[in-house]
């Protein structure tokens, strides 16, 4: 039917995306491990997307793997990232007309994402986040961010420092000054 060109385009796009995801490209971690990933899924990373676009899809498929040189892209982190993009590549795109950025930010993570990001090894978790940030996968960074924020919610500064292994570079005096300044936020009901 000719009634909605826009919509048919959308369907076509989805088909193309699905087709393209059958094409596998190789990604190489900073540790040297090489992993296969669907093209559409891999292109959720803006870094990979730009590389694929400047090299041409054919080149990427037939030649050397794409090297992800950042030290955070370890074998384990890359495996996790591929797991995530392979799960999420067919998510509907964000419609800015209707989905308020603020509402989206406040939305809770899906069950799958929660389980995915709940990694016991904090070093790996941070690798995944840093690597996703390096590869420019906004959705995955958001998942990491929401996870960290939900973990530190309601904790004291000291607990946060211990959990996230953050160095306290304030002197006791500086810290006291901030606490004094912020006394108003601790007002009891």
């Amino acid at each position: 039917m000719a009634d909605n060109a826009d919509h048919i385009d959308g369907d076509d796009n989805e088909d193309v995306r699905a087709q393209q995801n059958l094409i596998k490209i190789k990604l190489k971690s900073s540790e040297g491990g090489i992993y296969e990933c669907g093209l559409t899924a891999a292109k959720m990373s803006d870094l990979v997307k730009n590389m694929v676009e400047s090299l041409g899809t054919d080149a990427v498929v037939t030649t050397e793997p794409i090297i992800l040189g950042n030290e955070a892209v370890t074998d384990a982190a890359l495996k996790k990232i591929i797991e995530w993009v392979e799960f999420h590549w067919d998510d509907p795109p964000v419609d800015h007309d209707f989905e308020d950025e603020k509402d989206r930010r406040n939305e809770e993570l899906s069950h799958w994402d929660k389980q995915f990001i709940d990694v016991d090894d904090q070093a790996l978790l941070f690798d995944v986040i840093a690597a996703a940030n390096y590869m420019d996968i906004k959705g995955l960074v958001e998942v990491g961010a929401k996870h960290i924020c939900s973990k530190i919610r309601g904790k004291s500064c000291q607990e946060v420092r211990e959990m996230l292994k953050i160095t306290n570079d304030f002197t006791a005096e500086e810290e006291d000054a901030i606490h004094k300044e912020n006394a108003w936020i601790y007002a009891k009901d």
Binding site: I8, I129, A145, K146, I148, K165, T167, W184
Partner: protein, 678 residues
């Protein structure tokens, strides 16, 4: 895009050119030598490079090239003759070997060479009279004190020594010690390795230390002590009071009791002490013993070799040892808590940890974490079962352990923290300086209805004070939601224009019209993008709002002053012209009399090209919606249930290019129509 690409291409070409040029130049200048050949270096540099060879290797490499032959010996300024070298030379029956052999065996030679001898490391007591020829001797190592006295005359053979090491000391030589001390006032370094084999029976030991304290020039002292019948503290007091120049002190303590109940309190007297080595073997060290370490504020190097370390030893070490650069700990077990304390040492650069027996559960991460937290720490050496493991700061930068959030950049940190609520941001700003810098950066919208602001409001803290605090912390605020400002707080909107400049990025305000609207609406109107709430009584204010993207009104006449009810196409036309950025319009009730009125309404609304969402309460007339080309959602509340046929609606749906969903409400029942995927 293509332009960019072109630009890039040109750039790469020029870079290629310049590289070629450089390479050509290099080729012309150093035609003869390949880059990777050592021939490219001149004699001076070659000599410098080879100056680090051992004597033996110099001989071995002499015939590498003529340049080597020229340069390899140039840098030899001192020779160490050791047995291995001599033995080798002997095998070849070289003349050198004969000379060396004579030196080694014929002590007569000392009468001629003696003037030149400045250091003696190993000395046979049979040849000690040769010492008297060595007038310039400054360093000596002897087995016993009696070795430096003539056997027959009892005369002291060495004077004005600078460095002296004595391996055994026995108290019988008390008189000799006194003379030695008197004749060697210049002594700067003294090592007493084992005070006496039978020190346990010795009552006179303190006397030795009395004598030692008469060496005012002493800079470096090593004492090996059996702590039997000795009050260590007394010894230290005597030495500390008298040897004011002492900078380095090594104490090897051998307690004879299992428990060591002494104190090192007198360490406070060693005001110039910079390096301390403390070894206590086979004993449980009481807390009091090590407590006085906290008095040595000038220490730069500290080595602790103790079996059991008290938990509290390193507590607050950053305050007591502000200059400590080097710390070496050899102990049974080191805990994470200890590492925490170590990380706070402000000047520490090198840390050596030797875990003698039980290897704790400390992992690579713990040490990397330690590196990342300390200000100046560059190297950590961890020795376990004689195998060393090194952790170093990379490229002079701080390295961060993988499981520490410190590893993230400011930008990523700001992004990760952007999902916190306003209150949490205030709480967490003192987690670290980076948190303080980044936690507020991502705040772009403020809702006066925020839980934090609401709560504080209860405590009668004026809202504008809170707004002031917030705007100082959050420079990036783009939108403020004032909807929940009630009548009690409506003055904030009147005040707001006066401190609006504190929100340099503010672009949007979401508000309700209040009874004082006329006093602020003109000033804030350029920022207002959304209005909600009841409009009719304040509609004169609306005229100033030209940037509205969302409007919810009960009746079209609410939007215009003066008019009460009815349909006014000319007004609608003005409204449409002035609100071109409207994206969402929600009108609860539209009055119109004729089909033409409705057509007019639709025509006007269709000029709102940005409109994405429209909610109207009206009677459906065929084909109306085809006039709204950008419409995506349509809600129709229909009172005449039989006038609506599915077919009409499907035609409507297919004739509106962007319409995706329709919601038809008939007698409180909802019916949805949406475009089906083809």
């Amino acid at each position: 895009m293509t332009q960019q690409m072109k630009h890039k291409k040109i750039l790469t070409i020029t870079i290629d050119d310049s590289e070629d040029e450089v390479e050509d130049n290099v080729r012309q200048q150093t035609q003869m030598y390949a880059k990777n050949s050592m021939d490219r270096f001149g004699d001076d540099l070659c000599q410098l490079l080879l100056s680090y060879l051992l004597l033996e290797d110099r001989f071995r490499n002499e015939c590498v090239s003529k340049q080597f032959q020229r340069t390899v010996f140039e840098s030899v300024v001192d020779i160490t003759l050791n047995e291995k070298l001599i033995r080798k030379a002997k095998q070849q029956k070289e003349t050198l070997s004969q000379v060396l052999a004579t030196i080694a065996t014929n002590n007569q030679l000392f009468s001629t060479f003696g003037r030149l001898v400045t250091r003696i490391y190993c000395m046979s007591s049979l040849v000690k009279h040769s010492l008297s020829y060595c007038h310039r001797l400054s360093q000596l190592r002897a087995e016993q004190l009696s070795d430096v006295f003539d056997n027959t005359s009892g005369q002291l053979l060495v004077t004005n020594l600078k460095r002296f090491t004595i391996i055994y000391y026995s108290s019988e030589s008390k008189g000799q010690l006194s003379e030695f001390v008197a004749q060697n006032q210049s002594l700067k370094s003294l090592v007493v390795i084992k005070p006496s084999k039978n020190a346990k029976n010795n009552q006179n030991l303190p006397e030795i230390y009395n004598q030692l304290s008469r060496l005012p020039q002493l800079r470096d002292l090593t004492l090996d002590l059996y702590l039997h019948n000795i009050l260590l503290n007394d010894i230290l007091r005597i030495i500390g009071l008298n040897c004011k120049q002492l900078q380095r002190l090594a104490l090897i303590l051998r307690p004879t009791y299992f428990k060591l109940n002494q104190t090192l309190d007198s360490l406070r007297l060693f005001c110039r002490l910079k390096r301390l080595h403390l070894a206590i073997s086979r004993s449980v060290v009481s807390r009091q013993l090590l407590e006085p370490l906290k008095l040595c504020h000038r220490l730069t190097h500290l080595t602790l070799d103790i079996d059991e370390m008290s938990d509290k030893l390193l507590t607050d070490c950053d305050k007591h040892l502000p200059r400590l650069q080097y710390l070496s700990i050899k102990t049974n077990a080191i805990t994470r808590e200890d590492l925490d304390h170590i990380s706070s040492l402000p000047a520490l650069q090198m840390l050596v940890i030797e875990n003698c027996s039980k290897s704790d559960d400390l992992s690579d991460n713990d040490f990397n974490y330690l590196l990342s937290r300390s200000l100046k720490l560059k190297n950590i050496e961890v020795i376990e079962q004689k195998v060393s493991k090194f952790y170093c700061r990379k490229n002079g930068q701080r390295i961060y352990s993988k499981n520490s959030m410190d590893r993230f950049s400011n930008n990523l940190c700001a992004l990760l923290l952007s999902y916190l609520s306003l209150k949490e941001r205030f709480v967490f700003q003192c987690v670290s300086k980076r948190f303080q810098r980044t936690v507020f950066r991502s705040v772009v919208d403020i809702d006066i209805d925020d839980e934090l602001i609401r709560r504080v409001n209860k405590f009668k803290i004026p809202l504008f004070i809170i707004m002031n605090i917030i705007c100082e912390k959050c420079p990036n605020i783009e939108s403020i939601d004032f909807r929940s400002v009630g009548y009690s707080n409506q003055h904030i909107l009147e005040l707001f224009p006066t401190f609006r400049h504190k929100f340099p990025n503010l672009r949007e305000i979401y508000c309700e019209l209040l009874s004082n609207s006329d006093r602020w609406i003109q000033l804030l109107a350029p920022l207002i993008t959304r209005i909600s709430g009841e409009l009719s009584s304040k509609k004169p204010s609306l005229i100033f709002c030209r940037r509205l993207s969302r409007l919810v009104a009960y009746h079209m006449s609410d939007v215009f002053s003066g008019r009460t009810t009815g349909f006014w196409p000319e007004l609608l036309s003005i409204f449409v012209a002035q609100n071109q950025c409207l994206k969402c319009l929600n009108l609860f009730y539209i009055t119109y009399k004729t089909k033409e009125d409705l057509r007019e309404l639709c025509e006007q609304l269709s000029r709102l090209t940005q409109l994405r969402e429209l909610s109207l309460k009206l009677v459906l007339i065929d084909g109306m919606n085809s006039l709204l080309p950008a419409l995506k959602t349509l809600v129709i509340e229909n009172q005449l249930s039989d006038s609506l046929r599915d077919n009409d609606l499907i035609v409507l749906l297919s004739s509106s290019p962007k319409l995706k969903t329709m919601e038809i409400r008939v007698n409180n029942e909802k019916k949805f129509y949406s475009k089906v995927k083809m």
